[in-house]
Symmetry: C2
Subunit: 254 residues, 2 copies
């Protein structure tokens, strides 16, 4: 089997060139169809899903490694990426269980350390600009609703939960809308993004008022045609004002 050899090579290289016992996990958030999504990978020849992750080269900063891993494993480049927690429990997974689930032969398994400390990053991306692509370790790469995840490998369900919690807390200071939405969007779309992340309904009149009062978005003449029912106006973020407001911490949303 060619795949087994690739696996062995991968771990052998990591062993030689990467920091031992340390890894990175990336939680990539996107928003589409009024749902917050996470990008997951399905490992080759299995039905097992997990977060994209990888190792850190010995001469590479952890932040740079996170960007590289994202790029290598999902094709996504240069985006909003933030460290949110380091997962250091002594038992985060069972090596034998993982090895069984992934159909790994013993030699490959043994290369996987018994214990790994993992640094968690989350990314916010424009769903419409991502073309999920599987890499040599995986068969499939696709978006999953945050609300409806399968049981994942390792402690990845927990990692996603912590990322979500961080995202909620940081809603007020992070350019969430700016990174998760396409360039042009409607007010209801923005509202549903906030509702999804905050996990509670918001009043459309108050929401619209507040968002527009922040002065970080502008309404275009254009309307979104083609959908059924009344055509909503399109909006666009004013990048400069958004950044300025973020710096001043003006984007709290209670």
């Amino acid at each position: 089997m060619d795949y087994q050899k690739q696996l062995q090579n991968y771990f052998a290289e990591a062993d030689e060139n990467c920091l031992p016992g340390l890894s990175i996990d990336c939680v990539i958030f996107g928003f589409s169809n009024n749902q917050l999504k996470v990008l997951l990978l399905r490992w080759k020849y299995t039905e097992e899903w997990g977060l994209p992750g990888g190792f850190i080269y010995k001469t590479e900063s952890v932040d740079v490694a996170a960007q590289r891993i994202l790029k290598e494993r999902t094709g996504i480049n240069k985006l909003f990426l933030q460290q949110f927690h380091t997962f250091g429990d002594d038992v985060r997974y069972n090596r034998e269980e993982i090895s069984r689930k992934l159909h790994w032969p013993d030699p490959a398994t043994r290369r996987w350390p018994n214990r790994t400390v993992s640094i968690g990053y989350f990314a916010l991306v424009d769903f419409s600009k991502v073309t999920p692509t599987a890499d040599f370790l995986t068969d499939e790469c696709r978006w999953w609703d945050v609300e409806n995840l399968p049981s994942l490998l390792f402690d990845h369900n927990h990692v996603i939960e912590v990322a979500l919690k961080t995202l909620r807390v940081q809603l007020s200071w992070q350019p969430v809308g700016y990174n998760l939405l396409p360039e042009k969007f409607t007010m209801p779309e923005l509202q549903r993004l906030y509702e999804t992340i905050l996990n509670r309904p918001l009043d459309p009149r108050n929401f619209s008022k507040k968002m527009r009062a922040l002065g970080i978005i502008e309404r275009l003449e254009e309307q979104r045609r083609g959908g059924a029912y009344k055509s909503p106006y399109l909006f666009r973020f004013d990048k400069e004002k958004y950044k300025k407001a973020l710096k001043e911490g003006n984007l709290a949303f209670s």
Copy 2:
């Protein structure tokens, strides 16, 4: 020199029993004399100060290691301790510079990895309950004003800055007063704690009003006698209500 041998033993043990290339740094905050303080250690036979830190045993969770290190190196036990950031730059210190500053012989130095990823924790402690004690690696352990730190070893000045920033942001959700103040305290003391962390003056009338409105502190009949001038009332945190308010995120302070 006995110390050199101890050093070598220490690193040899760490090499054998600890996770390689990973360390923990602890930023311990205290409050006294209207100043926010950090606990620092002076390395033996030098004038070089740094944060208490250490390594993680191979069978120990990172959180537990942080508590153990704190206890071992400062005598402080069982307190508020929170991971705040992982420092993963590829060049966080110069091994030769460190070795020179600490008067380390080559063999000991070579045991120190060329690169270490460090997980930062910050602790909030009751200043009055801590008896700073140096350990076998250090000559002295004492509090320093956050506003007036010396140039520290490694990237520890930067680590403290990030911890402070985190502390400021989290003032609203963390039991800062509860952990940094003695059981009984006066309103001006609490106010100065907040002023110090937020780094700006607050109006005493508004501060008192707001704090008491939160319903998490109770005024005792007792007053603090002995100081000159008018005797201030003593207050105490209502632990239950404090925890409840924290859960509900009601402790924002703008």
